[in-house]
Symmetry: C2
Subunit: 405 residues, 2 copies
């Protein structure tokens, strides 16, 4: 029985592997397991009634826009709404520079298709969003990694890299409440980064799905806003955001604001990828948002997630043995935990799953390997009592493993 | 003002151009213009009330499945429905071999990503679906074209190509009521093609969005069904279909049935592309279909489109001057028209647009150029009276152009 299809995989496809998280999710869905593994919004945060009303409005008021083929750029009223929404972040772009995508994930694939060739250097944070690595590996880039700390990307290290002659096609970063570490690029570093980009002609992909999930005060200004402030228009930054965290990820509606010279290519490439993002989902996002739902609903989400973040930080403080370190994020969904050097998080995971608690070992987030003693903890999905119990279980597994070494 | 982003386009991206149809659509949306250019379903055919009820059921009965992140393979009840739906076409596949995609267009992009390398030979019909060419050009294949006639692909020509040593990664064809020509691969040729595939280890991508739109009798058995009949399982054929023609294209929900060795790679690649197809759209398609809507609704669509096809064929017969030929499709949405050799369809389009009638010049559908005197006419979107008027206008433009040559 010859395998007709498998021998002819493209070189790019040979780079594709399943996400460690995705494989994990199956295990963690067993009843009784407390999972800090996924990156799921809490279902209590979905504005289900408002979304139901929005689908009705979409299908009654604009049935054609909700059901027929639509423009690749996206549903125009939604794009117009997003132009206004982004202006509040001082990201002032004309409608023509704003494109709807099938979640931010598609924007990453689009950017890979447009800008990554075999061996092309792409600068990324040393730990970065796994989905970006997955989107780009088929295009076979070479990842140049940059350190990050509690204040986000080490911009001085980037300056040295660029001054040393590196020519990354672009720099990718999650600028607020990063996935996986939870850290945020500090305002002074943002200024320095945009100035550096200007000096070196550096292109930047700013992924900002978590920016609105700011629990300790107003969010930090996006790089895109600084780029526009400095250059009068979006010149260096392609800005990605999404409805996934504020409405519902199942809509798969994200958006991109891009420099004028990029947006036409994004639209052309997207056309060949899925023609356009689902019309019903776009119309639903529009009718749900157009009368101010995000303003009314976001504080509700923030209150829930803030309590969960606080519960996890308190539980870590209470239960973790000495030698374990973790980040203290001001927002987002994730805490990054570093075990003592001699511990291995993948081994720990097996012991943790026996105790019915799950996390993601950190290695997957390192583009070029490393981080055997790190892990990502999600705090948005489990309720506070579960978080306390789960962290206690995890700490007990860690203690036992330390005892054995 | 340096252009930061544009100089670094990938080699693949340099192959991306906008669709001729897409550019045309803007012109043809002017009021008064009768358009045979798009490939749009008639909005009268959308089961809007049933879809509205389905979104409500989705959001009330399974809000999490409609709003949360979901599995990359798709919403399980929808996949189970499609397993039953396909079994009626004798395409018997286990659930594990069925994957939901963001329209069939995404399946084409997925297949390109998995199986096309720079310079890889791909066998296609001499005129083929423009969206497949758009999806694949960024992966830089070499298109090997095969003739087709009123009975579809010339399978003998394919046999000669394979016997001559050509090793296409796969053969792509729209097997029923082809886009752009409207022709259908005849049953005897289907048998011969599957036998040939078996002999040569040929992989086949069968794109079947129009198969159910059969106006003159039962549809022809898909190649996938013959593959299974011959081999006991799907071995040679990756089968693509969609809800776009039977429910609504704006849902962007399609599906793929693939040999076991392919489906895992499809899922992995899709994960990096958009994580999963929109949950609300999938749940809507499921709740709309699960109680037999397709069976009740399809005859209604067939009656409308059959009348439009008949109206266009009658109008062509009545108005076209000698020397103009066209196909007589048994289904689908398109008629293919061939002008006298000395006429140029792109030039004709300008004259036609002055008369407020639009079509797509055929050249775009030829992967390697040619077909200057051909055009595609869509008959599903305009009402019969418009079709008669539009064909009369078109014939008058053709007559005038013949007079000038």
């Amino acid at each position: 029985m010859p395998a007709i299809w498998s021998p002819s995989l493209s070189h790019g496809a040979q780079q594709i592997t399943s996400s460690a998280i995705r494989d994990l999710l199956e295990i963690t869905q067993q009843p009784g397991t407390i999972s800090f593994a996924g990156g799921l919004p809490a279902p209590e945060c979905f504005p289900t009634e408002e979304l139901t009303a929005a689908t009705e409005r979409a299908l009654v008021e604009t049935p054609l826009a909700a059901l027929q083929y639509g423009p690749t750029e996206g549903f125009r009223p939604l794009r117009e709404f997003l132009v206004r929404h982004m202006a509040r972040l001082d990201i002032n772009v004309p409608l023509e520079q704003l494109l709807i995508t099938s979640g931010s994930q598609q924007a990453l694939d689009l950017l890979g298709k447009l800008f990554i060739d075999d061996g092309a250097p792409i600068a990324v944070e040393e730990t970065t969003y796994l989905g970006a690595l997955q989107a780009w590996r088929p295009y076979q880039p070479r990842f140049l990694t940059l350190p990050l700390d509690e204040d986000g990307l080490d911009v001085n290290a980037l300056a040295r890299m660029l001054e040393g002659g590196a020519k990354p096609r672009f720099l990718y970063l999650v600028s607020c409440f990063q996935n996986p570490t939870g850290v945020t690029l500090a305002p002074a570093r943002r200024e320095a980064l945009v100035a550096l980009a200007s000096r070196h002609g550096l292109a930047i992909v700013e992924d900002d799905p978590y920016g609105e999930l700011s629990y300790d005060g107003p969010r930090t200004a996006p790089l895109a806003a600084l780029d526009i402030a400095m250059h009068g228009e979006l010149r260096h930054v392609v800005y990605l955001s999404t409805f996934s965290k504020l409405l519902a990820p199942g809509l798969r509606v994200g958006w991109v604001a891009a420099p004028a010279e990029v947006v036409g290519k994004l639209v052309q490439a997207k056309q060949g990828m899925d023609l356009h993002t689902g019309s019903l989902a776009q119309a639903t996002a529009y009718y749900a948002s157009c009368d101010g739902l995000l303003d009314r609903h976001t504080p509700h989400i923030l209150a829930i997630y803030r309590a969960r973040r606080d519960a996890m930080l308190a539980a870590l403080e209470r239960h973790m043995p000495p030698g374990v370190r973790w980040t203290k994020p001001g927002g987002g969904m994730f805490i990054w935990l570093t075990l003592p050097e001699q511990l291995n998080a993948a081994q720990l995971l097996r012991a943790a799953l026996e105790r019915q608690v799950a996390f993601v070992p950190g290695e997957s987030f390192f583009p070029n390997g490393g981080g055997h003693n790190t892990m990502r903890l999600n705090f948005s999905h489990a309720a506070p009592a579960q978080i306390q119990e789960g962290i206690a279980r995890l700490a007990s597994a860690i203690r036992e493993m330390i005892g054995k070494t």
